[in-house]
Each structure stands twice: as structure tokens, then as C-alpha cells.
């Protein structure tokens, strides 16, 4: 009986183990080995840390990473600010079919691919686009207004793309907050601000943290939105990795960049968790 149970467990775990080892561990090990090679001649390679040194010695690469990280953090905070009232409204203020309908509305944009959504923004924001034309028609602008190809456009695209991933965990945690607790807060003399600060936000913290982690990682790893909406100097770190692999044929440096992205982004998430006094177990468990 015990042996059967063990066998059953092993069989159940096999798909997961296969998935992890074949699609996650082995490719990463391979990528790591590639990142440790240095090209010394035509088709000749040597083991070295040259690629990682390049990352640290060329200010451009480090600067691009910093820029990407800062903009991702900013996008995460903006997403949280916009998504929190929305989620609160969906979870607490409306009930029944209305709730389902609102939730569905958040979901609808994700039925089309990211590429199409980004093109949508391009049509809206470009110089000969809809917003520019409306502004001119309404007399608010005297000439065509260019809103595309700058960092603000990237921000808009990123926030829009990651909204759902913030709304879902927030709605789930906020729904578990019983109305009596909020009412009790008011009964004890609290006002809107103190109830929000003392009751609602602490309760929603696991949702906030997990939503922020997901959104931050999605922004950092996004490729389409920054490249399409961004302007002349809006270099995104994933763009660097892509061009090393595809355009420059420099897999070694690309692999090193990939690993730096993995390590640095993990560090940032860890640092943020420490800073806010949260831990992964508390939020995920």
C-alpha cells in the first residue's frame, strides 16, 4: 500500500519534474555555459568571464538596465494606484452580475494579442492619430501633436498591458475582507483614511505584493511595448538581449545579459520585500 502510494506520488510529480528539468533547468545551464565563453577567433572559444566584465565595464549596458528597472518600478506603482480603486469597487461596492460584468471588462482587452493592443495605442497616439485629431478639432491644439515615441507612451503601454495582473490578485484578497470589519472600523470612530490605512491595506497586502511582483517582472521582461511605443533613446534591456542574439550573432554576450537580468531582477524583488517587511511565504502561502 505504502509503496503504491509512493509510486502514485512519483507518477504525479513526473510531468512537473520533466517540465522543470527539460524546459527550465537544462536550458538555463546551457545558457550559463554559453555566457562563460569568449570568442577568440573564427569558430574558437575560451572559458572566461569577459562577457560579464563587458556588462560592468560598458556604462551603456548598466545604465540601460537601471533605466529599465526604474521605469518598471514606476509602471508597477502606477498600475497599483490605478488598479486599487478599481479592484475595491469590483470586490466590495458591486455585487452579482454587475461584479462579473466589470471583471469581464478588465479581461476583454486580453482576448487580443499584445501586438494588436500595442498597435491600437499607436493609432491613438501618433501625430496623425485619433487623439491628435480630436484635440485639433476641439481647438485645444493648433497643430498636430505627437504623443508617440517617448517614455510616457511606453508607460501608458506598460500600465495598460499589466493592469489585469494587478486587478486579479487584488480582487481576490479584497473579497475575503468581510464588510463587518470595515463597519467596525467606522463604529470605533475611524474615518475613510484611517480605515483604509489600518484595515483595508493591511488585509490586501498579500494581493498587493504578489500583484506588484508579477507586474514588475512582466514590465522588466516586456519587449514589444517599449520597442514599438518608445522613441529614439528608449533602449529597453530586453531589446539589448534580442539584438545581441539575433542581430550581432553574439550569443555569448546575450546569454550573459540574460543572466544579469535574472540575477538583478531577483535582487530587486528581494530588496523590495525586505524594505516593505514582507516575505514570499506570507504573500504566497
Amino acid at each position: 500500500m505504502r509503496r503504491e502510494a509512493k509510486l502514485g506520488l512519483a507518477l504525479l510529480l513526473t510531468p512537473l519534474a520533466l517540465w522543470l528539468s527539460l524546459l527550465i533547468f537544462i536550458p538555463h545551464i546551457d545558457l550559463f555555459l554559453v555566457s562563460l565563453r569568449e570568442r577568440v577567433g573564427v569558430g574558437k572559444y575560451e572559458l572566461s568571464f569577459a562577457n560579464y566584465l563587458t556588462f560592468f565595464n560598458e556604462p551603456l549596458y548598466l545604465w540601460t538596465f537601471m533605466r529599465t528597472a526604474v521605469m518598471s518600478i514606476l509602471a508597477t506603482m502606477l498600475t497599483l494606484l490605478i488598479a486599487f480603486p478599481v479592484s475595491y469597487y469590483i470586490a466590495k461596492m458591486v455585487k452579482g452580475r454587475m461584479q462579473a460584468a466589470l471583471f469581464l471588462l478588465c479581461l476583454v482587452p486580453f482576448w487580443v494579442s499584445e501586438l494588436v493592443r500595442t498597435f491600437g495605442w499607436m493609432i491613438l497616439l501618433r501625430e496623425t492619430g485619433i487623439i491628435s485629431n480630436v484635440l485639433q478639432y476641439a481647438g485645444l491644439a493648433s497643430g498636430p501633436v505627437e504623443m508617440l515615441y517617448n517614455d510616457a507612451a511606453i508607460m501608458v503601454g506598460l500600465v495598460y498591458t499589466s493592469m489585469l495582473f494587478m486587478v486579479v490578485p487584488l480582487v481576490t484578497t479584497l473579497e475575503s475582507l468581510s464588510d463587518e470589519v470595515v463597519e467596525a472600523g467606522y463604529d470605533l470612530g475611524g474615518n475613510g483614511v484611517s480605515v483604509l490605512r489600518e484595515i483595508i491595506i493591511p488585509h490586501a497586502m498579500p494581493g498587493i505584493v504578489s500583484g506588484c511582483i508579477v507586474v514588475f517582472m512582466l514590465c522588466l521582461g516586456n519587449y514589444l511595448t517599449p520597442t514599438m511605443l518608445g522613441g529614439k533613446e528608449s533602449l529597453w534591456f530586453t531589446e539589448l538581449i534580442y539584438s545581441q542574439f539575433i542581430v550581432r550573432f553574439n550569443w555569448e554576450l546575450g546569454a550573459a545579459f540574460g543572466f544579469m537580468l535574472l540575477i538583478l531582477s531577483s535582487l530587486i524583488v528581494w530588496g523590495m520585500l525586505r524594505l516593505t517587511g514582507q516575505s514570499l511565504e506570507k504573500t504566497m502561502g
Binding site: 570568442r39 573564427v42 569558430g43 560598458e58 551603456l60 549596458y61 545604465w63 540601460t64 501618433r126 501625430e127 496623425t128 505627437e146 508617440l148 515615441y149 520597442t227 514599438m228 522613441g231 529614439k232 533613446e233 533602449l235 539589448l240 539584438s243 545581441q244 542574439f245 539575433i246 542581430v247 550581432r248 550573432f249 553574439n250 550569443w251
Partner: protein, 354 residues
């Protein structure tokens, strides 16, 4: 009667399976427009082979073949300057058996030049297919002063120009600045020096650039809407726009348009070489080549296909290319392995510059 039917159908089944035995699947890695549906259908009908078309570009083709060690495709079409380098570095192609090709179908000068440029260790790796140039696409009413690559930096068109941050831009600007990048291909120090000058120029010009375009469709949108009045682009892009907006056309720059030739090569682990040779011989026929010219907008290396090309396209070509502009075309020599790293650094720094 019934037996007759059975016998007939048996015969049919045998005939079909016999046909299937010699029929292959040809996995073709190519550019958009190089394998139009009508050509593929004709080929499949004539030979019984099936053709699977994957559309791509130079860099992705090489990256894909490198990832599989030259597997996954039976025929690829990178540009002739991107064959010798990657072959020496990664070994992703296999030599061509020229005896299996009908040499009469090719324009001899293009055939010889391509073979010379794609020879590694005495073996020929590529034969020419489609050729064209890149230069300037200009709205001749709004920006008549743009005649050369560096004119894109002129204050008259500031904020209304675009180009790609890719190697053709570096090469074009270098020629326009009176330098000779192709002559320095073999000399890393000299090439780095040239690229350094181009980098400074591109950073100086950056303020006037609307955006660096990434894909052909994006550029078409920018030019068609009038948001951009002058850009670096391929000749076909200009001619296509010329059909809708007569003011816009392709201009061969004073420093010389950059000439490219896309080829046929056999990936190292291709499994249907015979079908690949059949495809090459099939599409190089003048009438078929004309169909490809109609779809892709560029001329092919097929001998005699010009006669079948449309008069509109010929007229546009002649308007953009007077004889001296043709003589001035700078044909890409093979890119030595490792050159991309120098250019890559320049492009990254230009992109990041304020």
C-alpha cells in the same frame, strides 16, 4: 464491372503512393514576397512536392540556422554578403552542386559575382536570386533637397526624417561622408575608426530624427501619413508608395545606393536537396521570375525575366536609376566574421545617446 472499379482504384492507389515516394516537403526559409502563393501552387502541381514557406530576414535566418546547426529547413535565402562569414564561423550551410542547376537561367555576371562572394575553402555556397538596392525614399515635394544620406541631417527636414539603426545606415552615412567602409572591411582598426566618425555624425543628427524605424510596415505608415518626408529605405518601398502617392519615390543617393543580392543556399542539415534544386530551377524560369518580381517588387537574377516585368515597375526603376546611378551602386562585399560586434557597439551607443 465491380471488379473493374476495384482494379482501377487499386491502380490509382499504387500510382499515388508511387508519386508520394518521390515527393518531398521543401521547407523554405525566405523573405516576404519571394515565394508567392501562385508560384508555390504551380510548383506543387508540377512536381508533387509540398512547399512550406517561412518568412524571415537575414539576421533571423542565420540565428535560426545557427540554433539548429543548419537544420529545420531545406533551402534558405540570406543575402550574399552574409554567407561566407557565418559559414566560416558556424558551419550552417552545405556546398552547392552547380551541375544540378541550369546555369543558362541565370544572368552570368550576377551568377559569377555571387559565387565568388560565397566561396569558402574552394566550395561555392550560394547562387543569386533577387537583387535590389537601399537608398533614400523621399517626398520630392516636401523635401526636394534630400539627395544624399547625410542630407537627412539637414535642418530643413528636422523632425521629419527616419532611418533604421542597422548596418546599412552606418555604411550609407560613411560613404556620404567621403569614407570607404567596404575597403576597410578586412582591417579592424581602420573600420573601427570609420565607424567612430559615423557614430559622432549619427549622434549629432539624432535630434532631427522622428523615430528609428524597425519594420517595413512601420516605415510605410510613417511616409504615407506624411509624418516622415525622407527616410533610408529599400527601393521597392519607394516604388510601392509611388503607386499611391506620386510625389514619393526612391532616390539613388549621390554617394551611391547600396546593392544587395539575396541568394539560395542549402542549410547544412537540409533533407530535401533535390527538391531544393528543383525549386531553384523552377523559379529561375523567366515567366516564374516575373511573377516573383510582381510580388516582391524587385528584379531577379533570371536571364530574360525583364521582358515579362510590368511596364510600371520598369518606368519607376528607370526614373530612380539613370545609368550613372547604376554604375555607382555599392555592392556589399562579404561581411567578415566579427564585424557585427564593432557595428553593434556603435548602434547601441547611438541609440542610448541623448
Amino acid at each position: 464491372m465491380k471488379q473493374h472499379v476495384v482494379m482501377l482504384s487499386t491502380a490509382a492507389v499504387i500510382a499515388i503512393s508511387a508519386g508520394a515516394a518521390s515527393a518531398d516537403t521543401l521547407r523554405l526559409l525566405t523573405w516576404g514576397g519571394y515565394a508567392p502563393e501562385d508560384v508555390v501552387a504551380k510548383f506543387e502541381e508540377q512536381t508533387g512536392h509540398t512547399v512550406e514557406v517561412t518568412k524571415s530576414n537575414n539576421e533571423e535566418m542565420i540565428a535560426k540556422l545557427r540554433a539548429t546547426g543548419g537544420g529545420g529547413f531545406d533551402l534558405a535565402q540570406p543575402s550574399q554578403d552574409r554567407i561566407a562569414g557565418p559559414q566560416a564561423e558556424f558551419g550552417i550551410y552545405k556546398p552547392m552542386d552547380l551541375s544540378k542547376l541550369n546555369a543558362d537561367l541565370f544572368i552570368p555576371s550576377l551568377m559569377l559575382a555571387t559565387q565568388a562572394n560565397t566561396t569558402v575553402d574552394g566550395e561555392v555556397y550560394g547562387v543569386p536570386h533577387v537583387w535590389g538596392t537601399s537608398g533614400l525614399v523621399v517626398d520630392t515635394k516636401m523635401a526636394p533637397m534630400v539627395k544624399d544620406y547625410t542630407d537627412l541631417c539637414s535642418p530643413d527636414v528636422a523632425g521629419k526624417v527616419s532611418y533604421r539603426l542597422k548596418r546599412p545606415t552606418l555604411i550609407g552615412f560613411a560613404y556620404s561622408m567621403g569614407l570607404d567602409p567596404f575597403a576597410a572591411y578586412g582591417d579592424e582598426a581602420a573600420y573601427t575608426e570609420i565607424m567612430g566618425q559615423v557614430e559622432a555624425k549619427l549622434i549629432e543628427c539624432k535630434a532631427g530624427v522622428k523615430t528609428y524605424w524597425g519594420g517595413g510596415d512601420e516605415l510605410m505608415g510613417l511616409l504615407r501619413s506624411g509624418e516622415v518626408v525622407a527616410s533610408m529605405a529599400w527601393d521597392t518601398g519607394g516604388w510601392k508608395l509611388n503607386a499611391d502617392k506620386p510625389d514619393i519615390t526612391f532616390v539613388a543617393p549621390a554617394a551611391g545606393a547600396l546593392g544587395w543580392v539575396d541568394t539560395f543556399v542549402l542549410p547544412a542539415k537540409g533533407k530535401a536537396d533535390d527538391a531544393a534544386y528543383e525549386w531553384i530551377n523552377f523559379v529561375m524560369q523567366p515567366e516564374i521570375s516575373a511573377m516573383i518580381t510582381a510580388a516582391a517588387g524587385n528584379f531577379t537574377a533570371s536571364q530574360g525575366a525583364d521582358e515579362f516585368a510590368s511596364d510600371d515597375l520598369k518606368a519607376r526603376y528607370q526614373a530612380s536609376f539613370p545609368q550613372e546611378a547604376i554604375d555607382n551602386i555599392k555592392w556589399y562585399p562579404p561581411v567578415p566574421a566579427g564585424l557585427e560586434a564593432i557595428e553593434g557597439g556603435v548602434l547601441d551607443r547611438v541609440k542610448a545617446a541623448k
